[in-house]
Symmetry: C2
Subunit: 229 residues, 2 copies
């Protein structure tokens, strides 16, 4: 083994599986135009700006890959990335992404394709902490009152005990590969949940409030306002 | 008693106590300009559009009342409203607002002055449900994964069981007056918490996702984008 092969390599798996139905729009939300180009190009650029040597794996439904290559040509998008097929659930999409990573000495982030507003600082905090401590996910405070609902009853809870979870969720490769050997469970809403279920603790780092997930029509207006500045 | 005096009267107490420090700005956030006028004017207009007969009580720190009257003149703002002094905590501000309501046959909403994007539909839903059932608060789904933090440990929770709480929070006057006779507790982060603590159940109605609370610099950019459309 050479010294080079021992160096910890950085990866990001960008999961872009959205079909666009929630937006009331025929175009999948990752392809919607914001500040002059598709959302997904903004997202990929965030990671390239953080580290232009990072290995980028893009998980995209097979049916969208031709359209993506047309867009890449049209917008002269030339950041190098590997494309793999999306799966039925997010879990399976991530699993497909992991299949494209052949080294066992890596730190791997998983990021939503529709979060084009992640800051370089948030990316750096998550990767740095994961390199040191095995895992890191970005979180922000809950700014509204929240209530927990059980059947017909709801009650106020202490919001200072809660955090909203963002991406990238970053893990050392051995932790992530082991966790994704588990069978899929419907309760897996994010990667931290998968890794936690496998018996690992999750480290929280500060996210950035702008790092919204574009899912509703309003989010597109917000993204336009923030990216168009 | 005449028939007219028996008619249920509608009130809204608009609480505008912010000092602007969280915005990194010297101007209190309720006075910041969005889409051509101060945030607070947009907010008051929402209730006037819902019902131009609604009684509007504006709770404003004494130190800001002269500035407000200057702004009202400058922007030719002529929606009728009663001004009362703000208190130390939101609880005390609401208490002062209640002091300006002399009828015992009312339905009273309490709304954040810095929520200028509440929809007419959200206002109507909360007042209609409160008139029928005594209380109503608008809530929306949690769209991000959330975690509960206890000391150094955090764990994923089922976000489908949680709701984010907005305003207006609306109650029949007898319920609200009785609840606000309780001594102040630091855990009272909203009016539903006060009313619930007094032994009442809280009805949830659907809010609107645009109904954000302007607290961070990003929120002002969002409000500008949404109100400026």
């Amino acid at each position: 083994m050479t010294t080079e092969s021992k160096t910890l390599q950085k990866y990001v798996i960008i999961v872009a599986g959205g079909s666009g139905t929630r937006m009331g729009n025929d175009i999948p939300k990752q392809f919607l135009l914001v500040a002059g180009k598709p959302v997904l190009m903004h997202t990929i650029e965030c990671f390239y700006k953080y580290d232009n040597k990072i290995n980028i794996v893009l998980v995209l439904p097979k049916s969208q890959q031709t359209y993506w290559s047309v867009l890449a040509k049209k917008y002269k998008f030339n950041i190098n990335h590997t494309i793999v097929d999306g799966g039925n659930e997010r879990f399976h999409s991530v699993l497909n992404g992991l299949g494209a990573i052949k080294t066992d000495n890596a730190v791997i982030g998983i990021h939503d394709g529709v979060r084009p507003l992640v800051s370089i600082e948030t990316i750096a905090r998550t990767y740095n902490t994961a390199i040191e401590a095995g895992s890191a996910i970005p979180v922000i405070d809950v700014t509204e009152s929240i209530r927990v609902v059980e059947g017909n009853i709801s009650k106020a809870v202490d919001r200072s005990k809660y955090k909203m979870v963002q991406t990238p969720q970053v893990f050392k490769s051995e932790i992530l590969f082991a966790a994704y050997k588990q069978p899929y469970l419907a309760q897996f809403t994010d990667d931290a949940g998968v890794v936690e279920r496998a018996g690992n603790s999750i480290n929280l780092v500060e996210g950035n409030v702008e790092n919204i997930k574009i899912t509703r029509p309003m989010d597109l207006i917000i993204a336009q306002a923030l990216l168009g500045k």
